[in-house]
Symmetry: C2
Subunit: 437 residues, 2 copies
Amino acid sequence: MNHDDPTLDPSRRSWVPSANQVGADFPVQNLPYGVFRRAPTDTPSLGVAIGDRILDLRVALEHVAMTRLPSAVREACGSSTLNPLLALGADAWHAAREAVSTILTEGVGSDPPPEGWLPSQAEVTSLLPMTVGDYTDFYASIHHATNVGRMFRPDNPLLPNYKYVPIGYHGRASSVVVSGTPVARPSGQRKGGAGGAGEETPTFGPCQLLDYECEVGLVIGPGNNLGETIPIGKAEEQIFGYCLLNDWSARDIQAWEYQPLGPFLSKSFATTLSPWVVTSHALAPFRAALPARPPGDPAPLPYLDESGLSGGIKLDLEVHLLTAAMRQSGLSPHRLSRASFLEMYWSPGQMVTHHASNGCNLRPGDLLGSGTVSGTTDDARGCLLELTSRGRHPITLPNAEVRRFLEDGDEVILTGHCHRDGFASIGFGECRGRISG
Amino acid sequence: MNHDDPTLDPSRRSWVPSANQVGADFPVQNLPYGVFRRAPTDTPSLGVAIGDRILDLRVALEHVAMTRLPSAVREACGSSTLNPLLALGADAWHAAREAVSTILTEGVGSDPPPEGWLPSQAEVTSLLPMTVGDYTDFYASIHHATNVGRMFRPDNPLLPNYKYVPIGYHGRASSVVVSGTPVARPSGQRKGGAGGAGEETPTFGPCQLLDYECEVGLVIGPGNNLGETIPIGKAEEQIFGYCLLNDWSARDIQAWEYQPLGPFLSKSFATTLSPWVVTSHALAPFRAALPARPPGDPAPLPYLDESGLSGGIKLDLEVHLLTAAMRQSGLSPHRLSRASFLEMYWSPGQMVTHHASNGCNLRPGDLLGSGTVSGTTDDARGCLLELTSRGRHPITLPNAEVRRFLEDGDEVILTGHCHRDGFASIGFGECRGRISG
């Protein structure tokens, strides 16, 4: 992957007009993959987002640029889920990208294109881009870990393993849903009431401290066989791309259940993904080394040493909130926070290498969450637990509503953008979820 | 399901001679399901274990007892994995069982049966019975939780949530393997050396405290939709059956990584299942209420109250060890422990109901581990961590070998049996795994 790649050339323009608008998330340099269908009975298609449209890959298979692809790549592009393409690896991904870029730059041989080639994103239903075999969630922002740790251990917020181990845990794959899926407020056991004091025994009922977590999701490619590892120098080859991920969290349930085996029902009721997977290829211009570790911090152990690699991604994330009252008043979503994915303590490659370091097999379509992305400033805290200090410092919204945690009808919208001088800016679209009571 | 069910009649005998031998795991009253193939290139078949043989369900579809089944059940029986049958629910399971019981009692119309109907278990390769979408591991033995907790908190072994919450965590589905699959010793970060003292910083290398955990696995049937719950009175309908499960554990990696999000790489390198799933139907005679909670313990919260239900299973579990030296000397495996699955603090139904209590969706083929099954006595400890008190009290084997934790070449063999006066005894077969270096 190099920056002279013509598919990344910032002067390249698409014949789809909306792709060339300033600030468009999906210019022809992006080309993220998703899965959609037009009607509930349709077979889902792979698609590539371009401007406010989607190139239907199954339809596009008849284009000469696609007919030249190896048959395995053509078959994968005609599938109803990304998994077959994920399994093929980087050469296939590059070939497919070149063909799609050619089609969206040069045209489809008629103007306007034939019916069916370019449905509007607003007209279709997005589905999960891939079948998630296993979902793992990391905890790779030291700012998040410190902010959360400080609430429980003011003098010693970070546990001793944090700077050595990319901490992660197994998540629930069945309840990973695509952006737009309503999120039902979970019930569960909680003790001590919303304020952390009170009852001697737990009660069962609706979560009172419902939260989001703004994360980045990594989508795994070919993977490794059980018993094999993935050296740090090979980790990037395993990452097909990235999406936005909301790791919904029931803080009261979590506080009561999580000892000693970690979060369980406080997380497993829903995890929302954005519909578009932005490829590693499209993100190449935005790679950079993670920030240097502060003096005194240990160097990563050799198996996690990525010195000389651009392990991080300069990706700006924002969290927006739209309450029911704001929606009724026609107000726009209010930005709660923004943070940079570059400010992580552990990189995506380190997460992949660590995950496989015991021989655990990753499979095509596996999903890795980065953990909440928070930065150093007060407005860079990627969840309400941090922003409101567990409700002690409520947020006042522009319409004078107050939030400690999420209320029914609240919609959380995550966005992400990459900018770099000399390159086309790209976006991740939206990851939306609204709380139902 | 009632005990007058003819498929459970203890006087029923099969025309397969090995099924009628005293002590056989698989008499005609058992009829557990598995998946197997004869040659590596064969399409896998569902099979039902009978004596030392397997009824090949795809072949048996031509028998008149099977031709009468609803077409969806026939299709599921002709599949290569249990998942389609799991999805159909209890009526389908009962119909299939009756047909199989009829075939194995009445004969197939020729004696000996035609080629292909009844391969020998020794001749085929067992595969995982189902595709596991999500694997969850519970911690439902209070004796195990107390024994392990005492090592870390002598005065306060049980955490305050234990008697209220059926504690569990998400496990790794990709590395669930079938009995007989070699288990490679994982590498990972560990700190402090085998004795728990020593180095200031962690190192990466092969696990030094490798352990097994003897558990029971629950195989989920139709499941629930996201956002729906499973009332305790309906939980049993969701459990197709049970198998033996070895939750291999790297104790040194676990001790260093598990705070604050729980076990991760210390568990995800392998989980071994027995090849045969013993159905809830076959276990009906062995159901009983869990032991009464000791005075002073809280009653389960109402959503977990199963008063009047026979939530437990009288299932005797044993763990056996065969070392490389024992194998070379022709010695038999040595029994390390035995415990009763009835002595759990939380029942299978409570695990299912708790799991779905936040609306998390269970899917056909999901796997729930019970957690290590330990009892009150010293010889009822279901893992080496407990048996040797983390290596402080090594075990001496009959050939004078000593074990604190598992050595390369060690093979762990789990077995399970159900006995009750007036009923045919049944067994679970074996769950085997050998450590490779």
